[in-house]
């Protein structure tokens, strides 16, 4: 199916599979007349939607023209590609014995029930398959209002709230949703996310296999980029997300500091934020040529800030900023006097109620 929204001009595509029940076919029903907008007054069976990358979107169970159940992808099955849907027609039989006043009779009673069996390949495992099946009664009944293709965005509220142009595949969007969900499990990161949403900030999300690191944030285009699917994780997103917060927080954004004076201020503040909020330390001086005694002392400073974040002082910050600039060539730049204090971190510490 390809649909175009005449008002916005946007186009979307998806695949639709119609699987009729045996009884429906036996009673003369046909699937020839069924399309996206017309399902037939007496259609019984399953209609399954897949995204264009093949991953499962959602499915609907119909009985005599009415939607009875909805099948939605679960988070941890986000990378599954639906391979097949089979209806198992199961016939249950038992002997019913009736005794009354010395008279007894036995009658064999049977009834039938349909079970839907989904077969999915784990794309991330590079092969293999798994089978998952649930009786239809486990799914919530949506009544007659269902039946449509549900794009990922409608199932991904965290991503949807901050996405301007989401160029990720549906399966990658599910990974992003999981990463955001895990990220906001940390109180201060939840504050950052909520602030960005409250300020109406919107970002682009895209894949970029030429990226040097796993993930990046470009303040000029307000774009988060990921090198591959493995890059879409909370750990790799955390520092980039803080950059997005800095971009929103500092007047004029942070693109003015890119490859210019102040670049090191922006980078050091982001690494300091990561170190203060991490369970285990320390990343800021990791790739630097600083002697171990300097790194140990930095670790001590971080621990004292973890104990009491309100104890951060301008003097200490400037001392460590200068050392970071001295020992970490890849981020080194002239210092910016506007950013001589970590105002973004200070704001989070004082306003978020997380510390």
């Amino acid at each position: 199916m390809v649909q175009t929204n005449e008002e916005t001009g946007t186009t979307r595509g998806f695949m639709m599979t119609v699987i009729p029940d045996q009884e429906y076919l036996a009673s003369g029903g046909s699937i020839d007349s069924i399309d996206y907008y017309y399902r037939g007054a007496d259609f019984s069976g399953l209609i399954v939607f897949n995204h264009l990358d093949g991953s499962f979107a959602n499915g609907w169970k119909y009985e005599e023209g009415e939607v009875k159940n909805c099948f939605l992808p679960s988070r941890n099955q986000s990378s599954n590609l639906l391979k097949s849907v089979t209806i198992l027609h199961i016939r249950y039989c038992y002997n019913l014995e009736v005794s009354y006043a010395g008279y007894s009779s036995t009658k064999r009673v049977c009834h039938s029930e349909d079970q839907y069996v989904f077969t999915a390949a784990f794309s991330s495992a590079g092969g293999g398959s798994s089978l998952f099946t649930r009786p239809s009664s486990e799914f919530g009944t949506l009544g007659g209002g269902g039946g449509a293709y549900l794009p990922s965005a409608s199932l991904q509220p965290l991503t949807n709230s901050i996405a301007l142009n989401n160029m990720l595949l549906p399966s990658q969007t599910l990974l992003l949703e999981d990463a955001l969900d895990e990220l906001i499990g940390v109180c201060s990161d939840e504050y950052i996310y909520n602030e960005l949403v409250a300020q109406g900030k919107k970002f682009n999300f895209k894949m970029d296999s030429s990226l040097g690191g796993f993930a990046g944030y470009d303040p000029a285009s307000k774009t988060f980029s990921f090198r591959n699917n493995d890059a879409i994780s909370s750990g790799k997103l955390k520092e980039e997300f803080f950059h997005a917060f800095q971009d929103a927080f500092y007047a004029g954004g942070i693109s003015q500091y890119y490859n210019a004076a102040g670049n090191v201020n922006i980078e050091f503040e982001a690494k300091l934020y990561r170190d203060i909020t991490a369970a285990n330390c320390c990343m800021a001086f990791y790739e630097s040529s600083a002697p171990q005694s300097v790194k140990d002392q930095y670790t001590r400073w971080i621990q004292s800030l973890q104990e009491n974040p309100f104890s951060i002082t301008s003097t200490d910050y400037q001392k460590w900023l200068k050392l970071f600039n001295q020992y970490t060539n890849s981020y080194s730049s002239p210092l910016s006097s506007n950013l001589s204090y970590p105002h973004a971190i200070d704001h989070i510490i004082n306003i978020s109620n997380c510390f």
Binding site: G212, G213, F214, A215, R227, S233, G235, K236, K238, E239, R274, A278, A279, N280, C281, C282, M283, Y286, E287, S289, P291, Q292, S293, V294, K295, D296, Q297, T299, R300, I302, Q303, Q306, E307, K319
Partner: protein, 172 residues
């Protein structure tokens, strides 16, 4: 003026022969370093410079930054502390601002466990730290996520702020 002094004090415990990579097996060496008038006491399980160890590298030869250190099992260090140290000694660990410094491989194996104290040393039998170091090496794995794809494995340094965790634990 900034000063950096490292004094190696005493070799106290252990008989393991040093390997080429300077990991000290069941030996801890006591050192004191001073930087900008702050003193750090360490019981080190490694007698070289971490910067000299082979580090994980990308295909382009860059050293990637770690973005997450996942200690597994997460509660191993705290549980081991409770097994090895008595409540008075745990107070000492907090007072001396004890943290645990691990050198692990990029595949997660812990090769060296050292201890770092600020302001003062704890008044605790040294052997207990050797036991803790051994236990952590035996039972802990450290999964490290990097900011770039690594092509070549190497050693990773991480520090667990033990006294901060112990303080939180006691306050609950």
């Amino acid at each position: 003026m900034r000063t950096s002094i490292i004094i190696v004090l005493v070799l106290i415990f252990g008989i393991t022969t040093k390997s080429q990579s300077h990991f000290l097996g069941d030996t801890l060496i006591k050192t004191i370093s001073v930087f900008d008038n702050d003193t750090i006491y360490k019981y080190v399980n490694f007698d070289g410079e971490f910067n000299e160890l082979p580090r994980p590298r990308t295909a382009a030869g860059q050293i990637p930054e770690p973005v997450v250190f996942n200690y597994k099992p997460k509660s191993l260090i705290i549980n081991s502390i409770k097994e090895i140290f008595n409540p008075k000694e745990i107070d000492e660990l907090i007072e001396s601002k004890c943290s645990v410094q691990c050198i692990s491989t990029s595949t997660g194996k812990v090769e060296s466990v050292s201890f770092m104290f600020a302001e003062r040393e704890p008044e605790i039998c040294f052997n207990k730290f050797v036991s803790l170091s051994q236990k952590i090496k035996e039972k802990l794995t450290i999964e490290t996520e990097f900011n770039m794809e690594i092509e070549e494995g190497g050693y990773v340094l991480s520090t667990n702020p033990l006294y901060v965790e112990l303080k939180r634990e006691l306050s609950h």
